[in-house]
Amino acid sequence: MTPRAAMRTTLRAAAEFLAWWTGLAVLWLILISAVGPLELAVGATVAALGALAARAARRAVTGR
């Protein structure tokens, strides 16, 4: 794999992670009852974990 292709793969992975993270964080914000700093921190963390799992699941299903 050329450096350029590797760079492109990394960028695509980062963009997909960010897209999942944004969606999951917004869902968290909608579903919690009271918005506070602690809730935001916990939400950002679990959204990151969820985004990793979502990307892994998507890759497992599509095989890429």
Partner: protein, 150 residues
């Protein structure tokens, strides 16, 4: 007693009676469809009751049911796949009726709530309810039978 609770009572009385009759009698293809519609109907009733009793946190019950109802139907679709393949259900009329009722109820609740995080939550529940029901109905009628992998 207010309009929301009245609407919930009517939906529960008429809809649950009809779906109970459908689940308890008739051929398999009608029973699975009635089971699927009963969860969607219960979800709608929970939404209406949450508004009627002015307890927004009760919406969580509808959220859980909107998520787990179609999942339960998918389990039935999988377990009964062989029987359903011989005699597949064709019940898009009732499905779209419940989908339309769901859209109407969620719209009315959003108007009553006003633009806020609570109405966004209602929209999420509505999307899960409608999307889940369409997917579950399609699975019951064999729409995904060719989809074994990926």
């Amino acid at each position: 007693m207010n309009g929301w609770i009245l609407a919930a009572t009517v939906a529960l009385g008429a809809g649950a009676g009809a779906t109970l009759w459908g689940v308890a009698t008739g051929p398999l293809r009608r029973r699975v469809v009635a089971q699927n519609l009963s969860t969607a109907l219960a979800c709608l009733v929970l939404l209406l009751l949450a508004q009627g009793y002015d307890r927004p946190s009760y919406v969580d019950l509808a959220l859980v049911l909107a998520l787990l109802g179609p999942v339960g139907t998918l389990v039935f679709a999988r377990l009964l796949a062989d029987d359903l393949a011989e005699d597949p259900p064709r019940a898009w009329g009732p499905t779209y009726l419940v989908v339309g009722a769901g859209a109407a109820v969620v719209t009315a609740l959003c108007v009553a709530t006003g633009p806020s995080r609570a109405s966004a939550k209602l929209l999420v529940v509505g999307a899960l309810l409608i999307g889940g029901n369409v997917v579950a109905s399609r699975a019951l009628s064999g729409g995904f039978s060719g989809l074994r992998r990926g």
